[in-house]
């Protein structure tokens, strides 16, 4: 290991760790915050799963401490936010039984937290920030202060979202999509949702500008575009999606805020009747407009969730197969096509809104076309495994599991992308099963792979393999236990928005027994995360120390830095001579040839 000789970067605790401008610290800040939010979002869902499995029954364990917890919330509401007449327990879980209103809040916030505060900040904010500058041989991001602003904007947005539970009437409850006109007339929590989103969007925009500039401007000498690691490519395309897709949602948020605060009717049509009374607004708005603006963001957002995951998986697979990626160039071109096409598929979320068959046909066609580059990437990753002697360590297990799980998620999406089967499947549990296969055992597994893979670079220690296996296998089984039955329920026609799990729904009667199975799977899944949490903290201090700066025998530049990298990252300016995945080069002395190594031997 190198000595960090004179480290002129002695700033004191606050500027080094709290108001940090170093991309590595900001990456870790993002990572820790996002993991916390993921846990929160997961907890909300576990509460919902109780209600779905045992509708109307008081929640055990949680019910016990809910009273004191609610008392504390009441105190905060009354004394800090001056809300009169607060009784949080009665508004949420009276006697431990979940109210429908609270169920709706949990549902909306689960989606919001997981997507905007959990996975994107982890995949882009954490991994992107930590790894991209290292992989391109840069000293830092192009705009370190903007990077800091991006993190703090994210944190403020996240805190506002969590605090929205304290608002009168609770948090946003109109789904993570906040469909109008429902969201226009929802309680205060929805306003906080919009304000929180504006902070999260600002954070993403600042991050996106920073990533693109960094990748274009700060590449090391010799690092041409076709020598970039696939992970960097994935982050580059992702940043463009964030840059161009988020502003329309910001516009939509502003319009909804105007509807809610200034009384405008952007999304309120004329003659709207609410609870038997005509709504006193000027009318003339278009409620489909919200859906168009929302999905113009939210479909590219799906690729924001998945592309960095593909990037991580590509790195881990190339490293552990000890082979070059199969079809690196086709993967890169597929990525570009995917990024472009993701902007013109959004209305496949809206086949049932009656927007017309001509428009449906267009979006149906683009949706079928966009599956091609996804399949190319996945196939290339599968073919990369062919004929290699695979190292089955924990990161590789997660990366390998990503492939079939993402495959299931992708293939189950095809019937949804065709307008005819979508009539049957729309808004059923099939949709939930489909996208959770992509995001949960897909993206989240890839993120786990990334954590296990880059942990030694961050801490100088490896995570424990046995705990890793104890984390992996139950997670894999339980993920399928949660989401596969959803497909069955959905094919049977069970709606995704039933607060009693379908107990009073004619279509659901034959499939109610699956609810209990899914819920128990979800709770075991939660238990399976305990070894991961233990592993994460235990290995920081007591994990096996790495014997050199490149413990996995990797080719990319992040492993050419000291462990952990000091401020400025590289000891000598790296010069790149070769492509990113030169593993097992014939006649080479080692089975990997780093990008910054001039001669093969």
């Amino acid at each position: 290991m190198h000595n960090n000789h004179h480290d002129s970067y002695d700033l004191g605790f606050w500027r080094k760790y709290i108001f940090a401008t170093d991309h590595k610290i900001i990456g870790l800040q993002y990572g820790i915050t996002a993991l916390f939010f993921l846990l929160v979002g997961f907890s909300l869902m576990m509460l919902m799963r109780w209600q779905l499995a045992y509708p109307g029954e008081p929640i055990p364990v949680v019910g016990q401490f809910w009273i004191p917890f609610s008392k504390a919330i009441d105190w905060i509401r009354i004394n800090i936010f001056h809300i009169a007449g607060s009784n949080f327990a009665e508004e949420t879980l009276p006697g431990g039984v979940m109210l429908p209103e609270f169920y709706n809040q949990l549902g909306a916030m689960h989606g919001t937290i997981m997507v905007f505060m959990g996975i994107v900040p982890l995949a882009v904010g954490a991994f992107g920030n930590y790894v991209v500058p290292l992989q391109i041989g840069a000293a830092d991001m192009a705009f370190p202060k903007i990077n800091m602003a991006s993190y703090w904007s994210f944190l403020i947005g996240g805190v506002i979202m969590l605090l929205s539970f304290l608002a009168p009437g609770g948090a946003a409850s109109s789904g993570w999509t906040s469909y109008t006109p429902l969201a226009d007339i929802a309680p205060t929590g929805q306003t906080l949702w919009i304000i929180g989103m504006i902070f999260l969007i600002t954070s993403s925009l600042l991050g996106a500008v920073n990533f693109i500039t960094t990748i274009f401007q700060l590449r090391a000498k010799g690092l041409t575009f076709m020598k970039l690691p696939f992970f960097v490519w994935a982050q580059l395309v992702t940043a463009f999606l964030l840059l161009l897709a988020f502003p329309p949602l910001e516009a939509a948020g502003v319009l909804q805020l105007m509807d809610r605060i200034a009384g405008t009717s952007f999304f309120l049509p004329s003659g709207l009747v609410v609870s038997g009374k005509p709504l006193e607004v000027s009318g003339g708005g278009n409620t489909l407009l919200w859906q168009h603006l929302f999905w113009f963001l939210a479909h590219p957002e799906v690729y924001v969730l998945i592309l960095p995951a593909m990037g991580i998986v590509a790195e881990v697979i190339a490293n552990n197969t000890r082979k070059p990626l199969w079809g690196y160039k086709s993967m890169v071109y597929s990525l570009l096509v995917l990024g472009f096409l993701s902007f013109i598929v959004w209305a496949h979320h809206m086949f049932l809104t009656g927007m017309g068959t001509a428009i449906s046909t267009f979006f149906q066609a683009t949706t079928m076309i966009i599956s091609i580059p996804s399949v190319i990437i996945l196939t290339a990753l599968f073919l990369s495994l062919w004929g290699s002697s695979i190292r089955f360590n924990t990161p590789m297990l997660f990366a390998l599991a990503f492939l079939p799980m993402f495959g299931i998620g992708g293939l189950t999406g095809l019937p949804l992308g065709l307008s005819t089967p979508d009539i049957h499947l729309h808004d059923t549990y099939y949709v939930i099963g489909h996208f959770h296969y992509i995001v949960a055992p897909g993206t989240i597994f890839a993120l786990f792979a990334g954590i296990y893979y880059w942990f030694p670079k961050v801490t100088g220690r490896k995570m424990n393999e046995i705990l890793g296996q104890i984390h992996f296998w139950p997670s894999l089984i339980c993920m399928n236990g949660v989401f596969m039955p959803m497909m069955i329920q959905g094919l049977a026609g069970v709606s995704r928005r039933l607060y009693d799990g379908g107990a009073q729904y004619a279509h659901a009667q034959g499939y109610l027994h699956l609810n209990e199975f899914m819920s128990i799977s979800a709770w075991i899944l939660a238990l399976a995360q305990i070894p991961f949490i233990i592993n994460l903290f235990w290995s920081m201090f007591a994990g096996r120390k790495v014997e050199n700066d490149n413990p996995w025998g990797s080719t990319t530049l992040e492993w050419a830095t000291p462990t952990p990298p000091s401020h400025g990252n590289f000891v000598h300016e790296p010069i790149v001579y070769r492509g990113p995945y030169e593993y097992s080069v014939p006649n080479a002395t080692k089975d990997f040839t780093p990008q910054n190594q001039e001669a093969i031997t």
């Binding site: 996106a208 500039t213 502003v254 405008t264």
Partner: protein, 198 residues
């Protein structure tokens, strides 16, 4: 030895820009998407409406035209400010940037009188869809003008010290601020005909 971030001032040969210039163009691309979404909203609402008032029957075209001239002039003075720095004439830079700020303030004052006149006639965002989109678009644009005033005032005042130590970097910063300011100007050049004339 630790590396530092390069291309703060000089251009990277293969991209032809320094970092901040690429950053501002990317930021402006996202701004185009923001206002693009709002203009699309305008089109969709207008196409879907039963009746839509002519802008000139509600708003005053002469006042709008005056404000257009004010903003275009401010863009010109912004360019002069940047050119003055290129010519190493800091006093002239102060003059032109000061003029830019004053013109921007003029624009806002006129806009405030326009708003006030509408409010006093009982015309609020909630009154009609036309007024809703009018107030939203011009309000968001006004926020951008305020942002520009803050940035320019900083460079006119405390930020100007950088000229003493790093004149090239300071000149670059004014160029970046100018690009942003031209964009704010450009948005208004679209807003004026769309809201006042059509």
């Amino acid at each position: 030895m630790s590396l530092t971030v390069p291309y703060l001032i000089e251009e990277r040969p293969d991209t032809g820009v320094f970092n901040a210039k690429m950053g501002i163009w990317l930021f402006l691309a996202s701004e185009v998407m923001l206002f693009g979404a709002l203009f699309s909203t305008y089109v969709l609402l207008r196409v879907g409406s039963i009746e839509w008032p002519m802008g000139s029957t509600i708003l005053s075209v002469p006042i709008g035209a005056f404000n257009t001239v004010v903003l275009i002039t401010s863009s010109v003075t912004m360019v002069f400010a940047w050119v003055s720095l290129k010519l190493k004439q800091f006093d002239k830079f102060k003059l032109y940037l000061g003029l830019t700020i004053l013109l921007a303030l003029t624009f806002l004052v006129v806009k405030a009188f326009e708003y006030g006149a509408k409010f006093s006639h009982g015309m609020f965002p909630k009154t009609s869809t036309y007024l809703a989109i009018y107030f939203t678009l011009t309000g968001l644009h006004a926020l951008h003008v305020i942002g520009g005033i803050i940035v320019n005032s900083y460079f006119w005042g405390p930020g100007g010290h950088l000229w003493q130590t790093k004149p090239e970097q300071f000149t670059n910063r004014i160029e970046i601020a100018g690009l942003y300011w031209h964009f704010v100007d450009l948005v208004w050049i679209f807003l004026f005909p769309v809201l006042y004339l059509l």
